[in-house]
């Protein structure tokens, strides 16, 4: 019964979305207040209905209702409760429902907290958001309905993919979707502004929180996914330049560019049409991401036919929204006149450089991702574009970005003296050179990767500290002023420092990791990078829904015991799949990573050990970036903008009209 209610709620939500797309749009055109205002209750209702539908599906997973096809295919009664719940979105249909739930959530947010938006703009934003809802509701209902029943319910399910039964991957999709779909909100704002024919500083301020939130969620989602890959796949890789990963990385890069260019719109009323274009493209990349992930077109070029309906449907949705968005853009972009004037040396120039680098690097990733498909269709060549290409083609952009970032971040708006800006940064530069030089001197191999990474890390972190400190002015009380700085300033510095930490982590780990593969007898000790490991024991241990082969490895350094590691190999009998569970000794400067392999003919066990320097900096930096974004999001001006004071935002830093 609950299932049918959920199904019914989903269809009702679809109808409400249709209403929300048409009525407010017509109302905004003819300036009919009643029609425009109807968008708000519609957005709320649409969210409540979708939430109800999603809860009904979750409930079916919780009680293991095996009369539902989806539950049978993705659940099992022995599964721990956590994974029963997360199993709701651990499959195509359920994850689409989560996706559309987030679409409606963002729409409802705009309805609830958009009190200071002009009524026509608000109605149009909600109408566009409603139309995105319509497309995805239709996609779910007509091609991927999660509420289909079984004719004959079986006694038990086929279990969730064991790799998904892991905390890292269980929460990876919701964050990623919050990011992807957050960009739908910026798209709605962009299209609404194009229909309205007006982009001003206030628009920049309204759209920025959504961009920022989407970027923070994308950062967390990508970091969770990469962390999962690191500890789960058994050899400690954290990024594969896989099409599906690239699908999440491209929107991240574009969102990063967008949130910076929106600042220029907000503060200086320049870069308007570019920002609008970015907002459209960012959502386009989100949708391409959904298409790549779900159609399987790039997974294997030949897999396109595996699910032509879904793939085609998603491609049509993407094409439709991009076509509408870009056509509107072409028609209206001229009317967006830039107002702000600035000289060559200015914050604006720095942000233009930031946007060029981020947008072009996203383009490089895009070309590399789709090239195998293009080459096969147009040139009849079957080829691969793998990690070596991306590392080679993408890394220079990040080096360039890291080099200019601290300078650009400190340049004043409008007109600046480059000399005066660079002066306080000299300390940071010397420090960074020293750190890089030290790394260069200490390493044995002569790769530049490690030293350059550490140089950039030190340069970004110390640059961010100096930036923050320079905002406290002169004289006494600088420390107390530091704490009272706007949260946006703190957010900026923390996020920039986080980028530096991640860069140092990536470079350090790739440059200096060591690996040891061997057969170890029980009781045997061996050395890896100054650590002594002893394989103490290997045992069979039963788990809740798996069998585990668990090794006990003790870890020592210079005769001092550091800890005991328990790497596992698990077999999930229902799904008949093995997984490796690496054991990590996590440290600030390094991880020791142990994987247990197969028993060998001569009685020993294959053991793989990795020494991974700076591994945690990669995710630590990502966490810092998202903390920075969140700080910025809670800045006073947004809280004020969310309140009742009408359009206070439009005044600051922008000449009165």
């Amino acid at each position: 019964m609950i299932t049918e209610l959920g199904h019914f709620a989903l269809i009702l939500a679809f109808l409400v979305a249709c209403f929300q797309t048409v009525v407010p749009l017509v109302g905004a055109h003819y300036r009919w207040p009643g029609w425009m205002a109807s968008a708000e209750p519609a957005a709320t209702l649409q969210f409540l209905l979708t939430a109800g539908s999603f809860m009904a599906l979750t409930w079916a997973f919780v009680i293991s209702d095996f009369s539902l096809q989806l539950v049978v295919a993705n659940s099992h009664s022995d599964k721990p409760m956590l994974y029963k719940i997360t199993g709701t979105w651990g499959n195509h249909e359920g994850s689409m429902l989560l996706w559309v739930l987030i679409v409606t959530l963002f729409g409802a947010f705009a309805a609830w907290f958009g009190g200071n938006l002009p009524p026509t703009l608000k109605a149009r934003v909600l109408a566009v958001q409603g139309s995105i809802g319509v497309a995805f509701f239709a996609f779910i209902i007509f091609t991927s309905n999660p509420f289909l029943r079984m004719d004959v319910p079986p006694f038990d399910g086929q279990d969730l993919n064991p790799l998904l039964q892991d905390p890292g991957l269980a929460f990876h999709p919701p964050f990623l979707y919050l990011g992807y779909v957050g960009l739908s909100m910026t798209f709605s704002f962009a299209v609404a502004a194009l229909i309205e024919g007006r982009v001003d500083a206030a628009w920049g301020r309204w759209v920025r929180p959504y961009t920022l939130a989407a970027w923070v969620f994308l950062t967390l989602g990508i970091a969770l996914g990469s962390w999962w890959a690191y500890y789960e796949l058994g050899w400690g890789g954290f990024w594969f330049w896989d099409p599906v990963e690239n699908a999440s990385f491209m929107p991240w890069l574009i969102a990063a560019a967008l949130l910076h260019s929106a600042i220029v719109v907000e503060k200086r009323e320049a870069l308007k049409s570019w920002t609008i274009l970015l907002a459209i493209i960012a959502f386009g990349f989100s949708m391409i991401g959904a298409f790549i992930t779900r159609s399987g077109v790039l997974t294997s070029v030949h897999a396109f036919a595996t699910d032509p309906d879904r793939g085609m449907f998603l491609l049509m949705i993407t094409a439709f929204f991009m076509l509408v968005g870009l056509t509107l853009f072409a028609a209206r972009a001229q009317s967006m006149q830039a107002k702000g004037v600035f000289s060559l040396a200015s914050r604006e120039t720095g942000l233009v450089a930031n946007n060029v680098i981020l947008a072009v690097s996203a383009f490089v990733v895009f070309v590399g991702t789709i090239w195998p498909l293009v080459a096969e269709i147009f040139f009849d060549r079957k080829l691969s574009v793998g990690a070596p290409f991306f590392n080679f083609a993408f890394a220079p952009f990040m080096v360039a970005l890291g080099l200019i970032l601290p300078v650009g971040a400190m340049l004043p708006w409008k007109r600046a003296s480059l000399k005066r800006t660079i002066k306080p940064l000299r300390t940071a530069f010397v420090l960074a050179i020293a750190v890089g030089g030290l790394a260069w001197a200490m390493q044995t191999g002569r790769s530049l990767l490690g030293p350059v990474g550490l140089f950039l890390g030190a340069w970004l972190v110390s640059g961010a500290v100096i930036d923050l400190w320079s905002r406290t002015g002169r004289g006494d009380n600088r420390l107390s002023r530091l704490l009272r700085l706007p949260r946006a300033d703190w957010g900026k510095s923390v996020a920039h420092a986080g980028l530096g930490v991640t860069m140092a982590g990536v470079a350090g780990m790739m440059a200096w990791e060591t690996e040891d593969i061997r057969v170890a007898q029980i009781g045997e000790s061996f050395e890896v990078s100054g650590f002594t490991l002893t394989l103490d024991d290997v045992q069979q241990v039963p788990g809740p829904n798996y069998r585990s082969t668990m090794a006990e490895v003790s870890l020592e350094r210079n005769g001092r015991e550091i800890g005991t590691l328990y790497p596992e190999k698990r077999v999930y009998p229902v799904a008949a799949m093995p997984t490796t569970e690496a054991a990590l000794d996590i440290g600030f400067l390094r991880d020791v990573y142990v994987v247990i392999g197969d028993p060998q003919a001569n009685g020993g066990w294959a053991v793989r050990t990795y020494y991974k320097p700076l591994a945690n900096w990669i995710w630590g930096g990502a966490i810092l970036m998202s903390i920075g974004g969140t700080l910025s999001l809670t800045d006073r001006r947004y809280r004020v903008a969310a309140g009742n004071r009408r359009r206070t935002g439009a005044v600051e830093g922008v000449p009165a009209e």
């Binding site: 830039a338 072009v360 060549r381 005044v651």
Partner: protein, 150 residues
Amino acid sequence: MKRLILCLCLLAAPAFAVQPDEILDDPVMEERAREISSGLRCLVCRNESIDDSNAELARDMRLMVRERLVAGDSNREVVEYVVDRYGEYVLLTPLTGGSNMILWLAGPVMLLLGVGLGAVYIRRRSVTPEPVVDALSDAEQARLRKIMDE
């Protein structure tokens, strides 16, 4: 992600990448083998090198690379040998010749374009006179900001 997982599941024999019995005795030779195999794609996986892959086929390819090395081939000859058998699909770094020039040049060309457009934009913004008609003076701006910040 989902596809990656699927692939990994189908292929994850209860083993992992390079096995202890594959490793060559000569560390220099082994180093070369690792370098070569990290640039070769496992044919049945997606974008994974044979060095990282758990698949049975990847193991065969790793052994093939090592055999050729022991037989005295140079790194380049080993790669050519593998490409002759499996096609350019196995190369994780695409070749630079022919239509692939588009792939390799797309980034630099786009960068030049971006820098050019950016420069033109900045130049235009810096020479346009500011519409100062009824803007606030700097002092007024400062006062306004102070009021706003309170």
